[in-house]
């Protein structure tokens, strides 16, 4: 059987997973951490501590500021030095809690041992509450609070849980390393998620450029299925390597052959997608009482002297991580938080990591500097590449003319900002730059219209 993949568009950027051989190593504690209140989609969290307070690792320092918001915990032990605006990686001020690190004292009740806990609590309510209190958010990029995603709206049932282990972005290897090194925990996490969602089937989708991970996780599942019936129905599905396989809608299409309707949610077709790192965080939260205080970050790039997958405490200054590995290389012109296709270019290296930080990528000028824009030759490559079946050349033209009606008619709101159009444009037309902005405007118009109804 041919390996599955999503049905429309997609591109094949060079894999470049040069850090795939580097085991995850813990980064030494930084002298100071800056914990941002905006580490999730939705309203910023509200600080619970005051300047001068002593905090321990895993102690909640902020509570959710709204429905789609999450708890935030101290990632270190020490003293709160200040609470105030600090520039994030884009240079925009965000409220941060500055904590001076003193020792490494964890909160009572957190199991910091390596013992694997495979027995799962039957009380779903308690499990869900643990996930909520641990501040677990989707670590695949959207940082959507996980407990919200795990509570499907009434009337909608979930048929399948999909664990996203695609890591389709070039360079990134943190999920791959997690699957190899903490595959057991991920599988337990998947079983917990499966139980909370009341589904029989859970599929761990892994792209076929990671055969070791596929084999490893398969053997773990086999082992676990002997121990407990709670692991029944979990399987690994190898997927054909193609970007953006890890996009939520694309992954559901690949695994289930179902397409989420425009404006719809995965639950509409009976799917819930969670990232590998999220599954691990769920394991930590439920089995170990450990909130999200650290996450694995790939630090990579051809021009970077040392490739690494680091376990980094949330709020560690980027500069500290970079200095630990030898500083910014001379020929690097751009530092990206995340992968090269959807990651954000960093404008401010003094910024600190957040829960969702997955990678620091260094690119040379010849790798990233855009070519001179020339006229559209109407080759249609952007439309062929678009995984949503949109026509970026048309959307770009409409966006230039600010024709909101036509933009909506041509489904700009469906754009997932994967970057395939700009990636594949031979004329170097900055398609996505404009489409992204116009999409925001159209979504605003749609929201305003729906609010009126």
């Amino acid at each position: 059987m041919a390996t599955r993949t999503f049905s429309i568009g997609g591109v094949h950027p060079k894999d470049a997973k040069i850090s795939r051989g580097c085991a995850i190593e813990p980064l030494p504690l930084p002298p100071t951490v800056y914990i941002s209140m905006s580490q999730h989609i939705g309203a910023p969290a509200k600080p619970l501590v005051a300047v001068g307070d002593k905090v321990k690792v895993g102690q909640p320092v902020a509570e959710p500021g709204g429905f789609v918001s999450a708890f935030i915990h101290s990632s270190v032990s020490g003293t709160v030095k200040s609470i105030g605006p600090r520039k994030d990686l884009a240079g925009n001020p965000q409220t941060c809690i500055e904590i001076a690190v003193e020792g490494d004292e964890w909160m009572e009740g957190i199991d910091t041992s390596d013992t694997l806990v495979t027995t799962i609590d039957d009380d779903n309510k308690a499990v869900l509450e643990k996930i909520r209190l641990a501040g677990v958010v989707g670590l695949g990029g959207a940082t959507f609070p996980t407990h919200v995603k795990l509570s499907p709206p009434p009337g909608k049932t979930c048929e399948m849980l999909i664990i996203n282990g695609c890591e389709c972005e070039p360079y990134l290897t943190s999920d791959f390393r997690t699957l190899l090194e903490k595959g057991e925990q991920v599988v337990v996490g998947a079983a917990i998620l499966k139980q909370v969602l009341h589904v029989d089937k859970a599929v761990i989708g892994i792209e076929d450029n990671k055969p070791e991970a596929i084999k490893h996780v398969r053997s773990i599942i086999k082992e676990f299925q002997k121990i407990s019936s709670k692991y029944a129905g979990i399987s690994v599905m190898p997927l054909m390597k193609k970007y953006p396989e890890g996009g939520e809608k694309q992954l559901i299409d690949a695994v289930m052959h179902r397409q989420v309707r425009s404006g719809g949610l995965p639950i509409d077709v009976g799917a819930v997608v969670q990232n590998v790192a999220t599954a691990l965080a769920v394991y930590d939260a439920v089995q170990k009482n450990k909130p999200i205080v650290d996450n694995s970050v790939t630090v990579t790039g051809e021009c970077f002297p040392k490739q690494a997958n680091l376990l980094v405490r949330v709020g560690t200054p980027l500069q500290y991580i970079i200095d630990y590995l030898g500083g910014v290389p001379a020929d690097a012109v751009k530092v990206i938080s995340g992968g090269p296709m959807m990651g954000k270019a960093i404008a401010n290296l003094d910024a600190a990591t957040v829960k969702g930080t997955s990678a620091l990528l260094f690119l040379r000028a010849d790798q990233t500097v855009r070519g001179q824009e020339s006229q559209c030759i109407r080759c249609g490559r952007c439309a062929d590449a678009c995984p949503m079946g949109l026509e970026p050349f048309l959307l770009n033209k409409l966006a230039k003319n600010a024709d909101m009606e036509q933009l909506e008619a041509n489904a700009i709101q469906d754009c997932i900002e994967c970057g395939c159009c700009l990636y594949s444009c031979p004329a170097n037309i900055p398609l996505l730059d404009r489409i992204r902005i116009a999409k925001g405007q159209v979504l605003g118009i749609i929201r305003a219209r729906n609010a009126k109804k």
Partner: protein
Amino acid sequence: MSTTILWTLVIITLLGLVLAVVLYFVALKFKVVEDPRIDEVEKVMPGANCGGCGFAGCRAFAEAAVKAPNLDNNYCPVGGNDVMAKVAAILGYEIQQKAPMVAVVRCNGTCEARPRINEYQGVQSCRVKAALYAGDTGCSFGCLGCGDCVEACQFGALSMDPVTGLPVVDEEKCTACGACAKACPKAIIELRAKGPRGMRMYVSCVNKDRGPAVKKACANACIGCGICAKTCTHDAIVFENNVAYIDFTKCKLCRECEAVCPTGAIHGVNYPKPLDVEGIKARIAARKAAAAAAPAEGGPSSQIAKENAHQAQPTAAPAEGAPSSQVTKENAHQGQPSAVAGGKEETNKEE
């Protein structure tokens, strides 16, 4: 042969007649009865269709103006009072007069004053840039320099100065339609009263960061010291979020704030004479001295006195010609309340 020609003529004539009848009925059916005054109003409009009035174009404005009971909510900024007088005459409404406005760029972060720490590559659009990050400099409030405002201006009144990297308003051409202000994602451009003979004062900065951070980012920025607000005797300067703002409805154009501003963030334009810093400072100092000499008089006027209590001390410092950050900072946050009371009252009476 001749029959062919004959038939051709007959058929064409018949066809023409039938189509003419069809056209006549179609025209009859789709005839729209319109208030003839709409056309009249539209005729006197500038015809720029810029949308500055809030309507889609001049025709839409004319329709709205005819429909409305008065001209209170409909004003054409481009045509100004002249056009509105004509409109009022046509419609028989009361004439609406408004002070002429002009677009003002409230950022003075020139290339020189604001060191670039990042380089941008992508669509040359402030909107795109603003959505991506804070900007190329340490200032996350200032002009992004891609010229969305220039593009938005239909009257060619805006241009980017290649030296400063900032937009420049051509006051002759500016019609105050407000398109640039809407286009600016950082809300730097503001419509302000044009002022007598074009003279006006404004704070050319919108940075809300605290003083030290602002200073590091831009040499021309408002550092939020508050000296201007304390100097102003007309209550025209609002001081909020670490940045000063001059309320143009209250400003009397005395230029005192401009003279005392330590960073030159306050701009007075179109004055016939250059700013006489020393003279103004001497005037302020004399006023303070006079007020200090007669503290008892102003004593009872409690409320305002309290507010203005901070005034005396700070102004003294720049008067000595030492606008060091140390002094300004102290003054900004803890102006000594002991010195004067009611200084402002006095000056107001004088004027």
